[in-house]
Amino acid sequence: MDRLALAGLIIIFTLFVVAVFDGFLAGNKPIVVRWNGGLYFPVLFRYNELEGVETVNLQQGSRKGDFALYPPLSYAPNESDLLTVLSPPSISHPFGTDDRGRDVLSRMIHGTRISLSIGFIAVGIAALIGILLGGLSGFYGGKVDFIVSRLFEIMMTFPVFFLILTILAFRDPSIYNIMIVIGATGWTGIARLVRGDFLKLRNYGFVEAAIALGGSDFRIMLRHMLPNALAPVLVAATFGIAGAILVESALSFLGFGVPPPTPSWGDVLSQSKRYVDFAWWLVLFPGGAIFLTVTSFNLVGEGFRNAIDPKIR
């Protein structure tokens, strides 16, 4: 399983690189241009200064030594070409095009950043809420624990996906709202782990010593107890990222995701609903990307779990 976890880690790292350097991999702006003796990096900055220069001229150059280096895939995610609507994969469009003639691979490359950032930030929010509520209820017990336990129960019994859909239908589904809603509904697993650990740690000698030394509750929880309870949180968070990416793509698929024309994997996939009789490339590629990403995070989570608790093996 460890070798698989490593493979998952490598895939995640690759996805990160793709997400950070999306403009260098796919887009219609050149990466580097030498024009009239000046050097430009249009993907990053100084694009406006080249406004008005025809693309053809840019490629041929105006004087000797001019050049333009384009990304390997020279289509922007929102660049539509009505002549190539719904064309199957070919050399110029490796993953085909969608119903507006936009390049699917380019949309997927640019959608990577959306999926990963929603995954990470949503889980970050969930972890914050989970650690706070779980920690408080484990440390103080009694009334606090009673209230937090009821909150657990409420979240556990709710059809969470239905709730997320409802909220996003009423609020505008911006990327921030999606992160917040997924995070605010996904904290129970982490909270439960932290609560259990804090309950146990509360009776340990070093915590009692810290209390006896007069440390404030906040300091004891943050400096002494939390570091000892973080490992399982890391495991749960890794699985959580996989779950959040799944939820985000399901939302986009149903039309409640990031608003168009922002590219996202679920959005490409949702287009396939209208062309179910032939456009297989709209299904296989984005779905494959979601699957690969989710599997990778799950594998890494599994690896973490085995590492901190060899008993489960």
Binding site: P159, V160, L269, W280, N298
Partner: protein, 333 residues
């Protein structure tokens, strides 16, 4: 025993209160009020063009002119008699609309749960008994991969390759029964139904299958380490008897009680799968209600699901304690 049940029942009250408050708040604080929407739908005019008078009248009709806490109180009183009000869309009682859709969703999910258990338990047992072997690793890995497949993606892939179009045309991808099937004999009707629900049931089943068989494996491995299993082995029982008679039974308890816990996730899954396959069940009703802001229906579905799950968890906890005398009532919250 009675004390325990009574205590648990009392604990239901704050939880139920929280559930209803959350549903109510989420929906009531949403922008875009249902009155304008309602008039828009009925008269086909823009919200701006509506006179104040009509808005006030409609508000009064639905009781939306009162402050929010009073509306909550009225709604709460009603749902205790299972009266979820009238649907904004077609003025029919919400509970009736749900009751109509329930059988379809229930039958799909019950079939799916049965399939999950029938397959998950043997798979889990096999991979626990042959831990570390090639077959265990194969099962574990393929279930792991299954677990990561988005259900809506699998649904689309199945529709693409098995539902007509440029590829094979094996299964229907729309509805649960062919039109005009009423005159068929009963077995043909049943076959037609099964043929229609095959793909949706596959999509509803595989995720829980992966989850449960992992759980079964873990549970059996835990039991196999216990003393009584060693005793059974050392008194010379054949391995099959040790596992099937002694270990398996104990490992099944936590698995069976999981049924209640997967209920909310099933409703969520039904929303996606039913809208993809156009199945007239609760999930589709929920999705349509969200799209048309049919508040009473949304509230009813969320509240009923949460309520049923709560009762389910309570019952499974009680069963848990009844079948396993090692667990005392005192130890559990």
């Amino acid at each position: 025993m009675l004390d325990y049940i009574l205590k648990r029942l009392l604990l239901l009250i704050p939880t139920l209160f929280g559930i209803t408050v959350i549903t109510f708040l989420v929906i009531q604080l949403a922008p875009g009020n249902p009155v304008e929407r309602k008039i828009q739908i009925e008269q086909g005019v823009k919200a701006e063009a509506i006179t104040k008078e009509i808005i006030e009248q409609t508000k009064k009709l639905y009781g939306l002119d009162k402050p929010i806490y009073i509306r909550y109180w009225i709604w709460l009183k009603q749902i205790f008699t299972l009266d979820f009000g009238l649907s904004y869309k077609d003025h029919r009682p919400v509970i009736k609309k749900i009751a109509e859709r329930l059988p379809v969703t229930l039958s799909l999910n019950i079939i799916s749960i049965l399939l999950v258990y029938i397959m998950a338990i043997p798979l889990g047992v096999l991979s626990a008994v042959k831990q570390g072997s090639l077959s265990d690793r194969l099962i574990t890995f393929s279930l792991f991969a299954l677990y990561s497949i988005p259900s809506f993606w699998l649904a689309m892939v199945l529709i693409f390759f098995l539902g007509g179009g440029d590829f094979w045309d094996v299964f229907p991808v729309y509805g649960i029964i062919s039109p005009g099937v009423d005159d068929y004999p009963i077995y043909a009707k049943a076959l037609n139904f099964l043929w229609h629900i095959t793909l949706p049931v596959v999509c509803l089943t595989y995720g829980d299958l992966a989850y449960l068989s992992r759980y079964q494996k873990g549970s059996l491995l835990e039991v196999l380490r216990e003393d009584f299993v060693r005793t059974a082995r050392s008194k010379g029982l054949p391995e099959s008897k040790v596992i099937l008679r002694h270990a398996l039974r104990n490992s099944l308890i936590p698995i069976i009680t999981l049924v209640a816990a997967i209920l909310p996730a099933m409703i969520g899954g039904s929303v996606i799968i039913e809208s993809i396959f156009s199945i007239p069940g609760i999930g589709q009703l929920g999705f349509e209600s969200i799209l048309s802001r049919d508040y009473p229906v949304i509230m009813a579905i969320s509240t009923l699901t949460a309520f049923l799950t709560l009762i389910g968890i309570l019952i499974s906890d009680i069963i848990y304690v009844l079948v396993d005398p090692r667990i005392s009532f005192e130890g559990r919250r």
